[in-house]
């Protein structure tokens, strides 16, 4: 999107808004559909939520976008997914009756959390991300490499160095 078009849009130009909706509605619908896949929600309402957020408070959210730094499609996909996830979180049941909770999930013995001081920066952000993807997402090295646009050996090396740091740290602590 050109800056001139963006300026018309946030200036409240109705024609500009119509052009914007016509151009990006499909992308927003796709992003919401994929974010909400399998969830019992009305995606049309979430799509409307996205458009409302874009134009409310004098187009406050749209004013945060900079066409010189990222493309509108990428930015809108992220915004739409964020709105969808907020909506999904709101719709999730906040509580569960204690009678419906399995006994093993009820606290019957006090659990004393382990208190270990871990200095900030022990692991680099990239190391933390690789470990999260391996152990929380169960992603394969090749998948992670593709996602991070690096080669598989780099991912293995990152993982290895991170584990060395953790072993050294916890060995000192133990």
């Amino acid at each position: 999107m050109e800056r001139e078009d963006l300026d018309r849009l946030i200036g409240g130009d109705q024609t500009a808004w119509g052009e914007f909706v016509a151009r990006f509605a499909g992308l927003i619908v796709a992003a919401v559909n994929r974010a909400a896949v399998g969830q019992p929600v009305e995606t049309a309402d979430i799509v409307q939520d996205v458009f409302v957020r874009l134009c409310k408070d004098g187009y406050r959210l749209l004013r945060q976008f900079d066409p010189d730094r990222a493309s509108m499609s990428t930015w809108l996909t992220i915004v739409a997914r964020s709105v969808a996830q907020d909506a999904l979180r709101r719709r999730r049941a906040p509580t569960q009756s204690i009678d419906d909770t399995a006994e093993e999930h009820l606290a019957v013995e006090p659990v004393i959390p382990e208190r270990i001081k871990i200095p900030p920066g022990l692991l680099s952000p990239r190391q933390q991300l690789v470990l999260s993807l391996i152990y929380e997402r169960e992603m394969e090295v090749a998948e992670i490499a593709a996602a991070l646009s690096v080669d598989a050996q780099t991912v293995r090396s990152t993982h290895h160095k991170a584990m060395l740091k953790l072993r050294a740290h916890f060995k000192e602590d133990d």
Binding site: G12, Q14, W17, G18, V21, A25, G26, L27, V29, A30, A31, N33, R34, A44, V47, Q48, F51, V52, C55, Q64, F65, D66, R69, A70, S71, S73, T74, W75, T77, I78, V79, R81, S82, P113, E114, R115, I116, K117, I118, P119, P120, G121, L122, S124, P125, R126, Q128, L129, L131, S132, L133, I134, Y135, R137, A147, S149, M163, L166, R167, F170
Partner: protein, 159 residues
């Protein structure tokens, strides 16, 4: 890596995860978009990756944005609702509702309530009394119009 080595590493990771310092700041959508397009320098990318490591939903957002899947069909109703957000209310003047009148203090409101109730009771009583008097009057008038012999309990049929 053997399964047992992997499990040991996983356990170590979990220990770290439960105790890791809170360093991440949630990036805004523009930072995430720039990261998705590889438009950040190393320091900026580090800050985003720290957030992604803590909240993998943000990582999913980045991957989805990179994939740039084909747009879906937009139902007409969805399009109409979105278009209606701008333009329909352009230039409309906002009319404020008149402010609420200051309400009476509580003790006056209570007195007025009870007074109104008492007045209702008096009014009903007066109306009832009036209706009762009218009814009695009507009965008296009817009684005086009826022949006396009908009211006489003596037996006139004999003889």
């Amino acid at each position: 890596m053997t399964d047992s080595a992997h499990d040991a590493d996983r356990a170590l990771y979990e220990r770290w995860r439960k105790n890791r310092p809170a360093e991440a700041v949630t990036p805004d959508a523009l930072a995430l978009a720039r990261y998705a397009e590889f438009g950040l320098d190393e320091d900026e990318a580090d800050a985003v990756e720290l957030a992604l490591a803590t909240d993998l939903a943000l990582f999913d957002d980045v991957i989805a944005a990179r994939r740039r899947s084909d747009p879906d069909a937009v139902p007409e109703a969805v399009m109409a609702r979105a278009l209606a957000l701008v333009g329909e209310h352009q230039g409309a003047s906002i009319v404020a509702f008149p402010g609420r009148r200051r309400s009476w203090p509580a003790r006056y409101r209570s007195a007025m309530t009870w007074g109104a109730l008492a007045a209702c009771l008096v009014a009903v009583s007066v109306m009832g009394f009036g209706l009762g008097v009218d009814a009695q009057q009507a009965i008296d008038d009817t009684a005086s119009a009826v022949p006396v012999d009908l009211l006489d309990g003596s037996d006139s049929s004999s003889g």
